[in-house]
Symmetry: C2
Subunit: 387 residues, 2 copies
């Protein structure tokens, strides 16, 4: 644990079957008017919307509707949400959905009382909120982003082709989140596997950095092994509660700041994936899987001991051959698992074309915490290899 | 993750070298008068007391002294601390020390404004506080108990020969804790290894329960492996920052409620150890190590798959032979590590005698979350084998 850090994660999690019913006491802490945020309406079909509305009404709350949050929430939608919040003077925001809905709710929460353009302040200048923050709660219906227990918020600006995430301080974290594994049963298989890969990659982004033997690295390996093990059960039997609940819990801990402690962290796969997402509007987890292997193959020589450890500890690769061979075998095992999951392994299938490469490269932020700080030609090379 | 649960741990941790200096902003949140709680005075010799006082004064706080907290804080000392708090109308309590000092600070915090006898209310009837709770902060100088990030508090009543722990709700958790690995350098070797075993056993108590493949089990294994790995470095080189910081961080996560989620949890080793402690006043971690092996050998047949998994995943035992043989080999490896550490492996060396066995058995609470609910003859048998 080389660096100094402050760990503070006060999010209260209600976990398990029917956990929404345990929310009554918690809801009493907030005011009367709730902005109910959700996505394209699937929550209305699967009964989750009704369950949430029923608890809100039981607690005497007035509901202000804010549906239609898209998979990559935009600055235009953010403006709409802020307008709704201001018009109704909402007391808290309840997000019902996956990471996009949670991210959007947080963006609204720091923008309602903000005098400036939130895109410029939070996502371009990366400033912290100086205004009052509207409290946010989440009812999670899709697993992967970890947004339910962190202060991250990714917003897309279609006017400037930029998809940018800001990790705020702990005061922007949701106050509470409901994690009911059964709420994830109705998610289409493609979204389920994208979420699993998203969670796995969050761990990779934190694991593939640093040269010390950090206790966080051991925790990373535990969560990665658990995700792989349980994904295999969930692929065969998507309604297996044990597997789905393990995946849900592992995904939350994959990105709630714990695994970042004492680590430099990388996040370059996310930078590449988000740039692809800004051009293709593809599912977030799929953009990550599509660029992962070319990126990891490229940086492997710079972080060889860690890639070897990854092979041995996460994938059970035998320690035979050179370190390089062992490390490469680990990436082969990762590739095999991606095929099992059925996630994208190239960006062409997500709609990216050779013509977009320069633009995507322009939109790719370069991080300096990983094993290699990418140059522009390296970014272009990795993107070409991802085609 | 079979059971439903609520996870909520809002403790703010300041981790790393010199982290005490980062406390200024945090201290501003609390009132003017601080009850400064510490133990036998070692913090005065090693400079930690001066560093803490200096930060408190810098923040304009008035200090009320409350030193002399003993290793197993007693009901008599608790009464003394409550008197001090009431007389000076303290605004917050700052505990500087190890688990006993933190546990004591929490006990005082829920007793200052309590009209009843705190021992009866909290440690006999296990009630939650209904009065105002004085905020507690911790500056940790000894690693092991996890008290800095949980709501547990163990108090000893010498009048009735009872040592009882109450795990309160999250409102009794410290508000903040300072974890500076360098503060643990001056701890005597015997205390260091007792703390390491204490932390390891906290994980065991949660791990050895349940028959599902819970993500928490994977996390348990990661933390156990990290503790073993880093203890070996710390034994050779007690001032190795990487090892001591990893041990400190692993010990905090070993008992901050995370590993209990979705688990039944056992805690019988603690019940046996605490009973031994009430009779011998021996160091907590040593009482745990002294009874562990007889207890685990006794329950092994009832939790065979988990003991096998423990052998393979934590100790790298080869999967050769019967499950029973593999599982027993895991306990042998645990025994070898205990010898390496130099922790107690029997209760005689802690001062327990054959004559005390019946009394210790009387004082041993029986838990029902583990693989075996012990009968009175089983408790006596385990204690005799521990002699």
């Amino acid at each position: 644990m080389k660096g100094n850090f402050v760990y503070h994660n006060p999010v209260k999690l209600f976990f398990g079957k029917g956990a929404i019913k345990d929310l009554t006491e918690e809801l009493a802490r907030y005011g009367k008017t709730a902005q109910l945020v959700y996505g394209g309406g699937s929550v209305k079909k699967n009964g989750i919307y009704d369950a949430v509305v029923s608890v809100l009404k039981e607690c005497g709350k007035t509901i202000v509707e804010d549906g239609g949050v898209m998979p990559n929430p935009t600055t235009d939608k953010l403006a709409e949400g802020v307008k709704i919040a201001r018009e109704h003077g909402v007391d808290f925001i309840l997000a019902v959905g996956g990471g996009s809905v949670c991210d959007y709710a947080k963006a609204v929460s720091v923008s309602v009382h903000c005098d400036e353009d939130p895109w410029e302040k939070y996502y371009i200048r990366f400033e912290e909120p100086t205004c009052e923050i509207v409290p946010v709660g989440c009812v999670l219906t899709m697993v992967g982003t970890g947004s339910e227990m962190n202060a991250g918020s990714v917003i897309t600006n279609h006017h400037t082709h930029l998809k940018i995430g800001h990790v705020f301080g702990s005061e922007v974290m949701p106050k509470f989140a409901v994690l009911d594994p059964e709420y994830t049963y109705s998610v289409p298989r493609r979204q389920m596997v994208a979420g699993i890969y998203d969670a796995f990659n969050h761990i990779c982004e934190q694991y593939f950095s640093g040269d010390d033997d950090n206790v966080t690295d051991d925790l990373c390996e535990a969560l990665m092994k658990s995700l792989v093990k349980n994904s295999r059960v969930a692929l065969r039997d998507p309604r297996n509660y044990e597997a789905r609940s393990n995946i849900m819990w592992a995904a939350t801990w994959a990105l709630n700041t714990l695994l970042a402690q004492g680590k430099d962290t990388d996040w370059e796969v996310h930078m590449l994936g988000q740039a692809v997402g800004a051009y293709t509007d593809a599912t977030h987890g799929m953009t990550l899987s599509a660029v992962s292997l070319p990126y990891y193959r490229h940086i492997l020589p710079y972080g060889l001991p860690k890639f070897k450890r990854f092979a041995v500890e996460v994938w059970g690769v035998e320690e035979k051959g050179t370190d390089r061979q062992i490390a490469e075998m680990g990436l082969e095992k990762l590739h095999d698992w991606m095929k099992e999951l059925g996630v994208a392994t190239n960006i062409s299938e997500l709609g990216a074309t050779e013509e977009m490469i320069e633009g995507i490269a322009d939109a790719t932020l370069v991080m300096d915490g990983g094993y290699r700080v990418l140059t522009r030609p390296e970014i272009v090379k990795i993107l070409r290899e991802s085609l």
